[in-house]
């Protein structure tokens, strides 16, 4: 009924609003017609034309009154009023272009920065994952209770464990494991890198995703030992086949040929922007071989806690059943969304918080500006009130003005945000999930509008309150030049400035801590020399049976040729260049343990396979013993090089050289320690070095038939790229390559701290500028208001210095209060930053001291102009103004 009603009435209301002149004209015409007919009627009854016309008009009782009554029936008066208010507000803003531009700029900065950050927060944290029923998708990860958690690798699970979980649990609709790797893919004859994920049979059921074209894997294709098939992402399909359905049946070579059987719908690229999915058909491996990640879909109405309880019980059973591998191992169930955004959530929310602080400062700033304007408008407001406008009507008028200001600022902010959002995405670390989806969508738009409305209330409330207190008689008597309540207004302005300074101080403190910590991060001893090192990642595409030998040969040949290449200082090859960990494991010394369960108590170690020359190329110092050599092959005794962290842990005051170490990577064979090298921060500059065991590439396999060539050069390392590409092509044409430099990798390693440091610094800078403008404003206002008094002081012999002190003293007093409040707030709030700080405590006194100094300097700078103006006041002029 209501809906049907609206069907008739809404178009009419819209018509009344937007075709206003037409509606009016029709009303005129309708009434005119009435009068004409009535006149004719009365003439027919014998009246003269004039009499008839007058009678017709009289019967209507006043055309304008009737029109007004008809208009009232349209029920859009409040909108009419609003439009009138808006027109009036627009005129008002245009009359004060300087004020309008300044306040719009300030608010646009605040709203724009907020919108930009929110667009990222929205894309990364708020939008639900674009899978069917995403809340039911969870990750199942290994939760080791005994070992320290060294890397993300430790979350991985083994196939036998997974199969037991799957068989014994009942909370899941589907469960799957997967592993993902950037590897060599040959399509036709061109080798290139693509993201390939091998997945277990139920993988697509977990995400409830169906192929867009073609089919999913058949049961035969998912059997162990099958030749396997491949499914490709929509993006890969478009890029390599132009969306041609004939892609189906084509062959891609990923270590062996596989036939493309299906294309997944756009948007599905789990995990890590996968290009190609293959079914995991390798051997199940051992319970200790934790090489896969696991996901599951909860059954409907099974809460996460219930699934967790069930899995904990299963893990406990497995622990008892297989103590040698599973002791201390449990399972952690986490929602996929939480797992994906876990690392960035705090950063993004802190950024949103800091940018909100900037907006609050902008509001306080604009409120000060409005307050200054309000004092000149007191007369206008009083006049309107005297002419009968109700307080409510005046308040509505003022609110409309503020709203218009905020909405214009919001619009300008949106433009800033569009640009800011792009900048944020470009600045952000590459591993932030779903960042590319950040855009100005309707949620962001709604946020901006909401922000504008809220801010208009925030900055408008103080002046509106002030205006509502205006005493009519006072204001009209005063003639608008001076205001009785000037003292109280100065108080409000002072308060607003204190708030601005306090807020700015908290941001500057946080930013200072992050900057100090970022500097510390840059000064940390990495343990290697990143300058002038070219890194070439290469993968030899071949079935695992021959792949290792071919890869080894390829890199040995490359190294031999590089040794003769001019401009090369040293060259090596490693499975994991510093900053990335490829494999972790455990180690034992001297002899293999009698009981297999002793492995579960063995210390953790980073495992790395390296070619001779790697330490020299990376600038890792050899502390004792020797580097690997080309003669360390499968036919010679197994050897290893360990780092000092391992020596400190396991050989305190002993000589490790000649001792035997067992690190099950691809074999249980013991290795003689032949050298000790300096520690490298393997997990990026933020984290302490772990014990590491290097194994020669001549004696071990390497993950994914992939190594990274590291070449130290005399000049710009990038200059060598073409030479390396040519050499590689001459050796093996089907090897895909990726070039980077050690410095670029390091840059990526600190992308997250850089992102937050830069943004906090920008927001803090913005806050300081706004606060500075606030201090300036309040001091200039004081000088203006007290010019008589100052003139009098000067006339009575006050020195220039004492006048300057008077003015600056006021500014410094406000700044001092703001500083104290801000520092107190900082001490309370910077604890939130704790996990983001590196070698810096949240209440670092030097940072706080520097902030205090900065605030003092900024206040003096902001106060310079007003103070010097005060000092130049001519007492004669000032006193004559009275």
């Amino acid at each position: 009924m209501r809906i049907k009603h609206w069907f008739y009435t809404v178009p009419l209301r819209l018509r009344s609003l937007f075709r206003h002149s037409q509606v009016e004209q029709e009303l005129n015409e309708e009434l005119r017609y009435h009068i004409e007919r009535q006149t004719e009627e009365l003439i027919a009854k014998g009246m003269t034309e004039e009499e008839a016309r007058y009678a017709a008009l009289r019967a209507l009782g006043g055309i304008e009154q009737r029109k007004e009554e008809c208009r009232d029936m349209r029920r859009v008066n409040y909108i009419d009023d609003l439009l009138r208010d808006l027109r009036y507000a627009g005129r008002n803003l245009r009359r004060n272009p300087g004020f309008a531009a300044l306040s719009i700029l300030i608010m646009a900065l605040g709203i724009g920065a907020n919108t930009a950050v929110f667009s990222v927060v929205n894309a990364v944290l708020l939008k639900p994952l674009s899978y069917h029923d995403p809340d039911r998708i969870v990750t199942l990860s290994n939760a080791s209770m005994t070992r320290e958690a060294p890397t993300a690798l430790s979350k991985q699970v083994s196939i036998p464990d997974f199969e037991d979980w799957q068989a014994q649990s009942s909370s899941f609709e589907a469960m799957a494991y997967y592993a993902s790797r950037e590897t060599a893919v040959i399509l036709g004859s061109t080798p290139e890198y693509a993201r390939v994920s091998s997945v277990s049979p139920d993988f697509f059921r977990v995400f409830a995703v169906e192929p867009l074209v073609g089919r999913s894997f058949t049961p035969e294709e998912t059997m162990r030992g099958s030749s396997g098939a491949a499914m490709i992402s929509y993006t890969y399909w478009q890029a390599h086949f132009g969306g041609d359905p004939r892609a189906l049946g084509q062959t891609v070579r990923i270590s062996r040929p596989r036939s493309i059987v299906g294309v997944l719908p756009p948007g599905f690229r789990f995990p890590n922007n996968t290009d190609i999915w293959v079914s995991a058909v390798g051997p199940a491996g051992s319970r200790g071989g934790q090489n896969f990640l696991s996901v599951g879909r909860l059954k409907t109405r099974v809460p996460l806690e219930q699934a967790q309880a069930e899995m904990t019980a299963i893990a406990r059973r497995l622990e008892q059943q297989f103590p040698e591998t599973n002791r201390g191992r449990s399972v952690a169930i986490t929602r996929l969304m939480d797992e994906m955004v876990g690392n960035v959530r705090l950063t993004l929310y802190l950024l949103l918080g800091s940018v909100t602080v900037v907006l609050l400062i902008a509001c306080a700033n604009t409120a000060t500006l409005l307050l200054a304007k309000a004092s000149t408008r007191v007369r206008e407001v009083a006049l309107r009130a005297a002419l009968g406008a109700s307080r409510k009507r005046i308040a509505r008028q003022l609110v409309t003005e503020n709203l218009l200001l905020a909405l214009v600022a919001g619009l300008a902010g949106l433009v800033l945000a569009y640009w800011g959002s792009k900048t944020l995405v470009a600045l952000a670390p590459a591993d932030v999930p779903r960042l590319a989806e950040a855009s100005i969508d309707r949620w962001v738009l709604g946020f901006t509008i909401g922000m504008s409305v809220i801010t208009s209330l925030l900055f408008g409330s103080v002046p509106a309150f002030y205006a509502s207190k205006v005493e009519l008689s006072d204001a009209l008597k005063q003639g608008g030049t001076r205001i009785a309540s000037g003292g109280r207004m100065a108080g409000i302005r002072g308060l607003l400035v204190v708030v601005q300074i306090a807020l700015a101080v908290t941001l500057v403190c946080a930013s200072g801590l992050l900057i100090k910590s970022f500097v510390a991060l840059h000064n940390v001893a990495l343990g290697f020399q990143p300058q002038n090192v070219l890194v070439m990642r290469a993968t030899v595409p071949a079935p695992p049976s021959v792949g290792v030998a071919r890869t080894r040969q390829f890199f040995s040949d490359m190294l031999a040729q590089l040794a003769k290449t001019p401009g090369v200082v040293a060259a090596g090859a490693t499975m994991a260049p510093p900053g990335y960990v490829d494999s972790t494991g455990a180690y034992l010394l001297d002899q293999l343990p009698a009981k297999p369960e002793d492995w579960s108590r063995a210390p953790s170690v980073v495992l790395s396979v390296a070619a001779p020359g790697t330490f020299a190329a990376l600038g890792i110092p050899l502390k004792s013993g020797r580097d690997f050599s080309e003669s360390d092959t499968l036919d010679s005794p197994f050897v290893a090089v360990v780092n000092e962290a391992l020596v400190r842990k396991s050989f305190p005051n002993q000589n490790p050289l000649g001792r035997t170490i067992f690190c099950p990577f691809d074999s249980f064979q013991g290795m003689r320690i032949i050298g000790v090298v300096g520690d490298v921060r393997q997990r990026g500059p933020e984290r302490e070095p772990m014990p590491e065991c290097y194994m020669p590439h001549g004696q071990h396999a390497f993950n994914g038939a992939t190594l990274s060539l590291v070449v130290r050069t005399t000049g710009d390392p990038n200059a060598l790229t073409q030479t390396l590409r040519r050499l590689a092509h001459e050796n093996t044409p089907d090897v895909p390559m990726k070039f980077t430099t050690m410095e670029a990798m390091l840059y990526e390693n600190v992308a997250a701290p850089r992102f937050r440091t830069v943004l906090f610094a920008v927001f803090a800078g913005l806050a300081v500028c706004l606060a500075m403008a606030g201090i300036y404003g309040v001091m200039a206002f004081t000088v203006g208001r007290r010019s008589n008094e100052i003139g009098l002081r000067i006339a009575l012999g006050a020195s220039t210095g004492s006048v300057v002190r008077l003015i600056l003293g006021q500014g410094l007093a406000l700044a001092g209060i703001g500083l104290v409040l801000g520092l107190a707030a900082s001490i309370a709030s910077t604890r939130l930053l704790r996990t983001m700080l590196f070698q810096v405590q949240p209440n670092d006194p030097t940072v706080y001291l520097a902030v205090a100094l900065l605030v003092g300097l900024v206040t003096l700078a902001a106060g310079y102009l007003p103070a010097s103006r005060a000092a130049k006041i001519d007492p004669v002029v000032a006193l004559r103004q009275e």
Partner: protein
């Protein structure tokens, strides 16, 4: 519905019978249910059918028409009138027909009740 006020306005007009508020709506709806008419003709028709008992002032007619139109009960169309000039003709909508039925039923109830009270024999 029960508040009694005069729908005729203006002091210099004769007020033969005050109408119960809403009754004018009912009358207009009923008249328009018979055939689409323009404003002036609605006024004329009212006088005709009520034998001049119900005199609705011209002044109150138009606001009432506009109100009914805004409610969606009647709809307007510009057409040539019987003397070949453009006039605004009102006609009943489907919603208006329902409203008419409802109002008419209300009116019947009310008038029956009132006449029952009026006919009570005095002791």
């Amino acid at each position: 519905m029960t508040t009694l006020i005069s729908v005729t306005k203006g002091e210099y007009m004769s007020k033969p019978t005050d109408l119960v508020q809403g009754t004018l709506d009912l009358l207009i709806l009923k008249i328009l249910a018979l055939e689409p008419l323009h404003g002036w003709a609605v006024g004329q028709r009212l006088k005709q059918v009520s034998g001049d008992v119900l005199q609705v002032s011209d002044g109150s007619l138009y606001p009432a028409l506009h109100k009914l139109e805004q409610e969606g009960w009647i709809t307007a169309e510009w057409k040539p009138s019987e003397n070949n000039r453009r006039a605004k003709f009102y006609s009943l909508t489907r919603l208006g027909r329902k409203e008419l039925e409802k109002e008419a039923a209300n009116w019947n109830r009310l008038s029956t009740a009132i006449s029952r009270v009026v006919k009570l024999k005095e002791a």
